[in-house]
Every structure is written in structure tokens, then in C-alpha cells.
Amino acid sequence: MKGSAAICCSPGGEGSFVITRLDATINWFRKNSLWPMPMGLACCAIELMASGASRYDIARFGAEVMRFSPRQSDVMIVAGTLTYKMAPVVKQLYEQMTEPKWVIAMGACASSGGMYRSYAVLQGVDQLLPVDIYVAGCPPRPDALLDALIKLQARVSREPALATLKRVT
């Protein structure tokens, strides 16, 4: 069940059949429509917007649908400084997201508190949420965010989707 050859096409081509694993198909759907929950908290959000605009065009990777409702999003991009005052809100938004869900910590502040060694700033969102990808930079360029997204896609495509599905009882 392992390997990169996830999809086999019939030699006849169009109008015939495709054989694949369900895991690979589900992951293929998931990784090409990672809808972000843009948790824009500081200047990283500006770079996040740049990633969505035409020059960098996050739509090339299927992640252009910025959902401002956590119930419709798959990946929370924490872009910016997370203060303790904001932390319960972010936690609640994360909990409202439906499974499967992922978290990208974008930039120094979201990854480690950054330059804000302060009583007011949470020293990294990993103290609050399970982070999948950390992006370095202050703020990271859109290229770096897109790289993180591609790495997350690679990660999603390796997940055992069927085994982690919730069973209806």
C-alpha cells in the first residue's frame, strides 16, 4: 500500500477506468483543496495577503479560498504575534474547525514569540495548538509560505486517511 504510484490509468485512456487506493484519492482531494483559516494577527498577515494575490497566487496550490469561518477551513495559518489576550480566541477558532485540520505557524512570532520576550505575548503558538509546519522569517516572504504549503501537502498525502476516519457508531 506504499509508494508513489498511487493512481493507475487504463491503457485505453479517456472514457475508461482508473484504479487507485481510497487513501490516495482522499489525500489527493484534501491536499489540493487546503482551505486556509487566515489567522492574521500582525504584519505576517500582509505577506499572507500577498501570497493570495496574483503575483504569488496561492491558488496554484488549491489554497486560495480564505475562509473566514473556521467550520469551512482545513488549515489555520497563524500569521503574527499571538498575545495572551487573543490566545483563548485562537484556541476556540481552532476547536471550531472540522477534522481533518492542520496548523501553519507563520513567522518568528507565531513560532517562538519572536522578538517579543514580553509578559503579554505567548511564546509560540505550539503552546496552544498542534503546529504542523513552522515558517521562519520576520515576516516570511510569500515564497516561504508557499514552500510551507507544499511541504504540508506532501505531509497530507502521506497520512493514513481511512484509518483516521471517525467511525459512525
Binding site: R117, A120, V121, Q123
Partner: protein, 192 residues
């Protein structure tokens, strides 16, 4: 009219309340000796002297000195373009001042910020809640006895804070030391 003229008029009106003005680079600072009478002084400054704009209110923690607290009011007149500074000192462990919101409504948020950061309460304020930290936070972070790294607090369902690691963090200057290494250590644990 110069700021000095306004200061003289204020001193003539409140001879027992307003102390000798200090002039520095054309800025005049007056000390209000009785902080409880501050609204009377400010009322007069606005209505009779034309200081219709309260630029800012600042607070100082003179930790280890008596009196411990200083509150600074920056007054400005948009018609005569003169600036006047009023200072008042507070000594109490739980300092309190009368509010100025009924004179300048912009004092509302300034006073909330000072309450939030320094813990000086304003009597008669219509809405004295915290403005930067969240409601229920137990400390006043700009007080000098509050450590730079912060304090641990745990408030279920509201918020929490932990100490920030200061290694590799900002420079914390200690004035008076001879060498730069002593004067600007990379981290310092507590002010107390």
C-alpha cells in the same frame, strides 16, 4: 500669550494649589500640590484659559521613592497653540485620583490605560475597565516591581500567562554600573 502667561494666570487663581512653574525649552510644567483638587484646576484651565484639548495623560512609578506615583497631564489649546503640563504626586499604596472625564471626554481611555498598566484608580470614571490586558488579569505590568519576564497566571476559560524566557532577549539596562557588560546584561530576573 505664552505658556508662561497661562501658568501665571493659573497660579494667581489657585495660589495655594499650584506650585512654582518649571520652564524647560519653552515648555512649562506646573505641580498641583493637592491631587484631589485637580478637577477644579483643569476646569478653570479649559473654560477660562482655553486649554480645550487634553493631549495625553502619563504616569510614572518612582519605585523606592516617596511619593511613589506621578501623573502627568499634557494640556493644549487649539486656538492659542500653547502647551501646558500639569503634574501631581500620589503616595498611597493603592493610589487614587479624581477622574477628568467630565472635563475632557478623551480622558476616558487615557485613564483606563493608566489603571490597566499602573494600577492607579480614577474615582468617578464612568467605565474603569482594563483596556489592553484582559478583564481579570491580576497584575499591573508597568509597575517597577513587576518583573520584565512577566508572572505566571492561570485563569481557566479567560486567559493564562507564563514567564517569557529572557535569554537572548532584549537588553535590560542597569544604570550606574561601570562596564557595559554589567550595565546591559542580556537578562535580568527581577526588579525586586
Amino acid at each position: 500669550m505664552t505658556p508662561r502667561d497661562f501658568a501665571n494666570r493659573l497660579m494667581a487663581r489657585f495660589a495655594s494649589l499650584v506650585a512654582e512653574p518649571v520652564q524647560f525649552r519653552n515648555e512649562v510644567t506646573l505641580r498641583v500640590t493637592e491631587s484631589e483638587r485637580l478637577p477644579d484646576v483643569c476646569d478653570y484651565a479649559r473654560d477660562s484659559l482655553g486649554f480645550d484639548f487634553l493631549l495625553d495623560i502619563a504616569s510614572i512609578d518612582n519605585f523606592g521613592e516617596v511619593p511613589r506615583w506621578t501623573v502627568v497631564y499634557e494640556l493644549y489649546g487649539l486656538r492659542h497653540h500653547c502647551h501646558l503640563r500639569l503634574k501631581t504626586h500620589l503616595a498611597a499604596a493603592e493610589p487614587e485620583l479624581p477622574t477628568l472625564t467630565h472635563i475632557w471626554s478623551t480622558a476616558n481611555w487615557h485613564e483606563r490605560e493608566i489603571y490597566d498598566m499602573m494600577g492607579i484608580r480614577f474615582r468617578g470614571h464612568p467605565d474603569l475597565r482594563r483596556i489592553l490586558m484582559w478583564e481579570g488579569y491580576p497584575h499591573f505590568p508597568l509597575r517597577k516591581d513587576f518583573p520584565l519576564a512577566g508572572l505566571c497566571t492561570e485563569l481557566p476559560d479567560v486567559a493564562f500567562t507564563r514567564k517569557a524566557p529572557l535569554e537572548g532577549g532584549p537588553f535590560v539596562t542597569t544604570p550606574g554600573a561601570t562596564s557595559t557588560i554589567e550595565r546591559e546584561p542580556r537578562a535580568r530576573t527581577s526588579e525586586t
